[in-house]
């Protein structure tokens, strides 16, 4: 790792601190270096707050003149909630800028770099770009596809069942695998489940460690049947619960849930009255949810994978055989020639279980 990568690594770690509070804005960190020393550093703390570049330049003050700026995302060139960063960079006299990735936001998308270069600043693009893209994959997805990044997690037996015939699924996988899931709940804006899972398991969908970021807990409830006694609508984090529904008939229930602090996303239904997932995802991204960790069940998982809306699949394979049970996906049936193709990206052993991470091919 050369010295530029070393500084950019620090930028990425700073940016990460904003996780959960910046959406739908990206996570951004900035470091200003002069004579091999950091003279200013900052990160984007939350949506609406100052950009990282501004904080770092403020810290560096007059020393910024002739210094080098490292930032994971192209500085903005447009007037938003805050003034354009490129103007501040030019004004501060920064002479060189290292950028992780170009901002996919159509209002920036290269214009920031252009403005910096026109001002005579030496600009390098693509330093630790892969890491920068991974960090802001939710934001990139939101900008390019108008929906959140969706990670689908399913935990199954070796023979492909997510529960036994009685519906019991706790626990198919080990505590090591569940710890991994707990971590994933911290690096996505929202955790999503279908109503079948809510009825069956009454899940809390919380990360293990509750000091800090609590993700949105999103339940897809087509006809707004969620009982008031369940955790998602009654526990102390209910203000982080989002109920997506296509129901038009339950104004009273919507009023009561809203009164409890729960956010209702009212979306269109298809001809069966079921939630139109494409519309729902767009609405969720507008709420500021740029990445979702979907934990099933099989109906929701089946719909997402069929619609091509799964950006990453995390398939946990437990060393167990049931013979019969609840299938991982439901709601569709492909022939071998038209099977939905995946691509395995990573294999990992987690305690006794195997995690296969893949994407749609």
């Amino acid at each position: 790792m050369d010295k530029h990568e070393k500084w950019m690594q620090q930028v990425l770690e700073l940016a990460e601190k904003g996780r959960g509070n910046t959406s739908p804005n990206p996570m951004v960190g900035a470091v200003i270096v002069k004579d091999d020393k950091i003279i200013g550093k900052s990160y984007h703390r939350k949506f609406g707050a100052a950009h990282a570049e501004r904080g770092a330049i403020g810290q560096a003050g007059e020393s910024a003149r002739g210094a080098t700026l490292y930032v994971n995302l192209e500085p903005c060139s447009h007037e938003g909630k805050t003034p354009p960063c490129v103007d501040q960079i030019i004004k501060a006299g920064i002479s060189e800028v290292y950028i992780g990735m170009i901002d996919p936001n159509p209002r920036v998308n290269g214009r920031g770099v252009q403005k910096l270069r026109e001002a005579g600043i030496n600009v390098h693009i693509g330093l630790l770009e892969k890491e920068a893209r991974q960090l802001n994959r939710g934001f990139i997805q939101y900008m390019s596809k108008n929906r959140p990044w969706i990670t689908l997690k399913m935990a199954q037996t070796a023979d492909g069942y997510i529960a036994d015939v009685s519906g019991k699924s706790q626990w198919i996988t080990s505590s090591e695998a569940r710890e991994y899931v707990m971590h994933q709940r911290k690096i996505h804006d929202g955790i999503m489940v279908g109503m079948g899972t809510v009825f069956k398991d009454d899940p809390g969908l919380l990360p293990a460690n509750l000091d800090g970021f609590v993700p949105y807990r999103i339940v897809l409830d087509d006809s707004l049947r969620i009982p008031y006694r369940l955790k998602l609508v009654s526990d102390e984090f209910r203000h982080r619960t989002v109920v997506v529904t296509a129901s038009n008939k339950k104004d009273q229930k919507i009023k009561q849930l809203t009164g409890l602090g729960i956010r209702i996303v009212h979306t269109v239904g298809d001809s069966f009255g079921w939630i139109d997932l494409t519309a729902a995802m767009k609405q969720l991204s507008e709420v500021g949810i740029t990445s979702i960790y979907c934990e099933g069940g099989s109906q929701l998982a089946g719909s997402l994978i069929q619609l091509g809306m799964v950006d990453e699949i995390q398939l946990f394979i437990a060393p167990k055989v049931l013979g019969e049970g609840i299938s991982t996906f439901s709601g569709f049936m492909k022939s071998l020639d038209s099977a939905i193709p995946l691509h395995w990206k990573e294999i990992k052993q987690l305690g006794p279980d195997i995690l296969l991470r893949g994407e749609l091919a």
Copy 2:
């Protein structure tokens, strides 16, 4: 790897040459070393032929006096088809013996070592024992459990289907995975399938490379329904086909199949007329089949795993999703609390597919 391990490695490679021809005897290699040079080496070529030690001693001649013998299995102490090896070792004047593993054959089982030690020979046991056991796992199984070693191979989609709803399974996995299977067909005495698979796929069950060892091709055919036109009973290797049946009514068909060179193993049926697998496996081991590679289908796989008769499971997971299809195992149903536990031993990427190697826990 120290020098003793290096010689033993050569012993194992020699022993391996007997693969397919020694069953139900073990594969054995022997190397005699003096002054850091090999002065004699041999292996057990086929059932009934000379033991490896005898060949090596013959080569070494008078030089064997004071030399060191490396052999992967304890030399025999009993009169069998050939005279006891320990007597020849003592007579040749070998002064030191390195042994991979004790012979589990109750007629030997430590007596060989005892006799060598009583003759003043310095004996070391357990050099590359793990490798020695792996090599002869079929023989060990045959000696200890009175049935062949059984490796169960299943190739499934990510959601646990071995075929689509129409029954199509060719090909779920990639050519890389199938190459692995082809190799496995060379290192097991027999390849086994159920009658459903035979009807559906008309498989040849041959390894890719046909210059040399051709494994037995074993089909479990409860009521002897196999049609004469199928490959297993009509191709040029039909003398390597074993049909196991529980049928009592088809003397004429048995006569005809036998006339074609096919071996019939007549075994007991259960109350439904289905083959009693425990009895059948014992009979197959008596035919000289000490290791079996079972390639399904789901009914046979389900029966074997339920009976605890699977020594190794090879689960290929293809990056494909079907939504519905033919399940990997059929014929039983467990609750999550009584699921059949496995233990993953190895994970391997084979082209686009994943291979999980496991054993019953």
